[in-house]
Amino acid sequence: MQANTMKLLVVEDEPKAAAYLRKGLSEEGYVVEVAHSGVDGLHMASVNEYDLVILDWMLPGIDGLALLAALRHTRSVPVLMLTARGQIEDRVRGLQGGADDYLVKPFAFSELVARIQVLLRRASGSRNAAEATQFRVADLDVDLARRKATRGGQRLDLTPKEFSLLALLLRRQGHVLSRTEIAAQVWDMNFDSETNVVEVAVRRLRSKLDQPFERPLLHTVRGVGYVLEERAA
């Protein structure tokens, strides 16, 4: 991924939010510029070239939706909208108004990064390129097409959902996936659940994937979610 060449504009009036977005996204390898008002944001987005705009809905002066409408006259840059919780109608309006995706506050930072990657990939057209179906992480080999997973030459006996979970973690290896995102991607359950079902499912996958082997691949990131990666011992 050529993330280091990607240039993002964050339009966010709340200084603390803008600061952590700039910091986090810079650390992810993006070049980040911040506009603190809708007017500045519109000016910067019109004058400069960006690969993606992250737009807060609630802005002083000119709100996110109006900015988006004005921007769409001249630019087709991908826009990720940040909205307040409970404005379901607004989300629909936002998407109709030309936003490419939206994220409801408060969101997990890992979720934001994942959405940005999807939008950038879609924009660069690489989405159409054949996605990898074979993965190798350490001594784990997975063939998605043949739904076969082996570790150290030993076949892993996974249920269909466990396999789907493993496939998701592999495609996004190195990135932390939240429980909510896992529930949405693997089971199509698009709500925050009070239950610990995702934890249990991950635990069961881990008992088959990691327990019999020396080096764990599936890691828990406390308070954030799960990540599959090879870590130095």
Binding site: K161, S164, N196, V200
Partner: protein, 464 residues
Amino acid sequence: MTTPATLPSLRGRLSRHFALQSMLGLGLVCGAVYFVIALTLSNRQDETLQQKRATVMRLLSEARDAHDVPAIKHMLSDFLTGHDDLSVVVRQSNGEAIFARNTAGELGAKTKRLAFVVALPAEIGDVGRAELIYDTSKDEALLTRLWWTLLTAAMVGSLAVSALGFLLVKKGLAPLDALASQTAQLDARRLDQRLDASGQPQEVQPLLLQFNALLDRLQVAYAQMEAFNADVAHELNNPLSILIGSCEVALRRERSTAELHDVLSSNLEDLRRIAAIVADMLFLSHAERGVPARRSAPMSLADLATEVIEYHEAALEEADLRVEIRGDACMAVDTGLVRRALSNLFGNAARYAERGSMIGVRIDRTDDGHVAIGVHNKGSLIPQEHLPRLFDRFYRVDPARSNASSNHGLGLAIVAAIAKMHGGTASADSSEAGSCIQFTLRDVQPAVPCELVSPQSAGADQPW
């Protein structure tokens, strides 16, 4: 505040009605009296004329034999003596009056006449005409007097009834004024006050009872709201105090990166818990505002339940629980919301079910156009008094079990809210055999057999 359009004063309206009605009634009575008296007087005049005619005819036929005109005149004069209101004119057949007294000029303006043929002596032509003229002026005067008397009586009577009515209504409505001042004294801060119904007329009693019942309900709702606010504060307070405390402790000394990492991770968990509570609260307030569900095309609820069971598969297997679905119904629902409700119910059932037991799901159509989905689990009895309150926010049967971070006591409230968004309700039942939590969804379309609905199996839209 705008003043709504009001009806005119009850007092004014009633006294006007009294006046009109008594005027109408008295008018009818007076009219009848006047009419009967007028008719009687007229009849009496006619009778008198007829009698006098007979007398005149008899006198004339007697006098005819005497052939004496002066005698006739004399007799007629005698006959008229004492009858000031009567006059007689007798004419020969050639029109010449042979007797005339008290002729029209001397009588009053109003007269009644009766003409008839009489026999006269042969010398003056054998036959002639007589005319009796009756003066009705006195009767007319009597009638006029009667007319004015009756009219005055009717007017005065109506006015008297109207005035009395006004006073009566005023007296009758006096308790309402007292009621108004009582109501004005109700204090918004004191919800235990009620209106005093004593001394109020029977007609007002139902209104008073309803008003007091309304105050009862308000008091209950207000108390619930206050308790609810306290609950929210309490639920948020716990993770907040942990966060404040752990941050403060972490900053008191120099810490290693690993230690700080640990603190931040732990804080993140608590923050997520707060975010989850806030998100659920917002969802509930959204539902509370009466926002209806966005229904998609009809689909099998059993299929929907199967998808959610798949989601809970790992957790159910760990608890050694099996799930059985009985019945099915196809209907248009907001699939996301119904999945969420079912997920909450399975989570709840898995939490309280006996290890190794069976969780039963029943999907039934009810007679009133609803579909009921019940999730049953074997487990300890929930005391009867807790059942209706299970769907209250933050309500827990056993407060000691509230520490589970995955359960913040909003799950069943969300089930009830989702039922409400689908025009249904949620209810709970518990016995020694286990507990069942059920919610209903109102079907908005005619019932569709499930075979006609294209299956929307789980994972159909998954990217791999």
